[in-house]
């Protein structure tokens, strides 16, 4: 197995694990929201998303296996919320981190990959996942918009840097891990390209979205500028 095949297999195995974790997280969040917002459409979207993510995990594991890499191991439902937050704030924190940031970044990554010349089997998987991830990103913005309509959500601003720090892989900043352009054929962004997409998605989608809904982006912009200057 050459280095590109191995890197592609590891990337898809990692994605399989990420997707399994998302399935657990979405199922848990779907159960929590009705306690304070029984009219919300978001829990139904989260339940459907949990099923989507299980399916995505199988697709990613299938690709990783085709590259000779095991399927990514088990997944853990990791709680990421600060202990000081009450239940409703904690749900909002987690939805923003998982959907408004991570799923939105995933959509941008998938759209970029679909603009490249990927192998047919890879392209088929990318296309199927991308279709669902748009809905997954939207449900985060839907929940934040509902919350912002009835209460002050500005407390999130101070926490966005923590969410971002927990989102990026080690090595993305300052330069991004190098990688051959050949990775694109296998559905993987080389490090510098990944960094570019990550930062532009924050600058032009995530942070303007947060600001529009009452969450200052100033702490997040300071976090970014410290890492790319």
């Amino acid at each position: 197995m050459d280095a590109v095949q191995r890197a592609a297999g590891e990337a898809w195995a990692f994605r399989a694990r990420v997707e399994r974790e998302a399935a657990s997280r979405f199922a848990r969040l779907a159960a929590a929201i009705p306690a304070f917002d029984p009219a919300s459409p978001v829990p139904a979207l989260l339940r459907r998303a949990a099923a989507d993510e299980d399916r995505h995990a199988a697709l990613c594991a299938g690709l990783s296996a085709s590259y000779g890499c095991p399927g990514g191991g088990g997944a853990t439902d990791v709680r990421i919320t600060p202990r000081s937050l009450g239940p409703r704030d904690a749900v909002l924190y987690e939805v923003v981190a998982a959907c408004c940031i991570t799923e939105t970044e995933s959509v941008a990554t998938l759209a970029t990959l679909l603009g490249e010349q990927a192998e047919p089997r890879v392209r088929t998987v990318l296309r199927e996942i991308a279709r669902d991830e748009v809905v997954h990103g939207r449900m985060g913005w839907a929940h934040l918009a509902r919350e912002a309509a009835v209460r002050d959500v500005s407390f999130l601003a101070a926490w966005v840097p923590s969410m971002l720090a927990g989102t990026v892989e080690e090595g993305l900043f300052p330069a991004g891990e190098p990688g051959p352009d050949e990775l694109l054929r296998h559905g993987v962004l080389p490090g510098p390209r990944k960094k570019e997409i990550f930062v532009r998605t924050l600058d032009e989608v995530v942070l303007p979205g947060l600001e529009k809904l009452g969450v200052s982006a100033a702490p997040a912009r300071a976090w970014i500028s410290q890492r790319i200057s």
């Binding site: 979207l45 600060p82 202990r83 009450g86 923590s162 532009r200």
Partner: protein
Amino acid sequence: MLFKKLFQLLVLGGAMVGTASGCATPGQAQAAADNKPEDRDGGSSPDGGTAKAQDADGGAAADAGGGVVGW
């Protein structure tokens, strides 16, 4: 162009989905906020996952928040 489209599709589209149904009430917000954080099982970070928890300063403070690793 991609990013402008993503903003419209995800942020504006999502906000529309969220606010098209009946809204939560501030009263419901207050009732939920009155629950103490200790009442829930939050903040733990078992090993083996891809999500990462760390505090806002990058240290090991007890009140740590984290993020979710994606693609």
